[in-house]
Symmetry: C2
Subunit: 165 residues, 2 copies
């Protein structure tokens, strides 16, 4: 396991858009470049995890989320390799309450296109399909998820659910 | 928040001992030195979180735990300061199935005394009191927990529970 150099803590926001849509962005950097992802990124030292999810959604998708309106839907451990080396990610996933509209003409920070579309109108990264399914937001085919994780050599373990209501 | 330099991922094992006891160790290093803690420590890069809890319990308390026998009881975010600087910790807490006996004459890796005693026979660190209460293992007084966290200047947020059965 020596090829892994660090454990990175990240957070993402499942962000409902108008009319039953979900907010996706086309990733241009990192291990999942070229895929449709959810807004998210690294937790900064000293920054609370729910606050990080909100900050990243603001930077990447221009939406204004509040930590108190975020419900944790799962915590995942993802391990894999890419051209930049190996990565070991702990990902906290939150569902934002309400509907949020990406501003017209929005260009996010170091991301490609940002869209708000029905989840079944595109094929996101397999980790995202699993995260959305576990959150009860989508019903992507389980076999597609497993095939995608296998294809990309990703080990994905669900560590935790949200807090009991 | 610039005094925080990193986010550290750690895991601990609530380890039942013989006769309804819990395994505690007297910490000698780090921000919680001088307190009774549960076996645990940093997750190594490339090492799964449940495996880290088992490895740490083995190194510190000499018990042989298996990742498949560990049930997540909570995930916490802890922020605070000590003489070594500021710390931002993401702590995954597991309850080990079964009973486990610390070997006679055991001396753990870089820890002080290791004991297996009823939880009400000592006063552990306030973060440990909260973790054990949330796991349903103890009923420490909530006011004592809050007073302890306040005294030590610790911000402790419960981020997640375990997976639904």
């Amino acid at each position: 396991m020596s090829e892994y150099s660090k454990v990175t803590v990240a957070a993402l926001a499942i962000t409902p858009g108008p009319g039953g849509t979900i907010t996706f962005l086309h990733q241009q950097r990192g291990p999942y470049a070229g895929h449709w992802l959810l807004p998210g990124g690294k937790v900064d030292p000293g920054e609370s995890v729910p606050a990080a999810a909100c900050r990243e959604a603001g930077e990447e998708a221009g939406v204004d989320l509040k930590p108190d309106d975020m419900t944790l839907t799962g915590v995942y451990e993802m391990l894999g390799q890419w051209s930049g080396g190996s990565y070991h990610l702990i990902m906290f996933c939150f569902l934002a309450a309400g509907e949020h509209t990406v501003p017209a003409g929005w260009q996010g920070d170091q991301v490609g296109e940002v869209v708000q579309v029905p989840a079944d109108s595109l094929t996101p990264h397999p980790t995202v399909m699993r995260i959305l399914n576990d959150a009860g937001v989508t019903v992507y085919d389980q076999a597609d998820i497993e095939a995608g994780l296998e294809r990309d050599g990703i080990t994905m373990l669900r560590l935790a659910a949200g807090l009991p209501a």
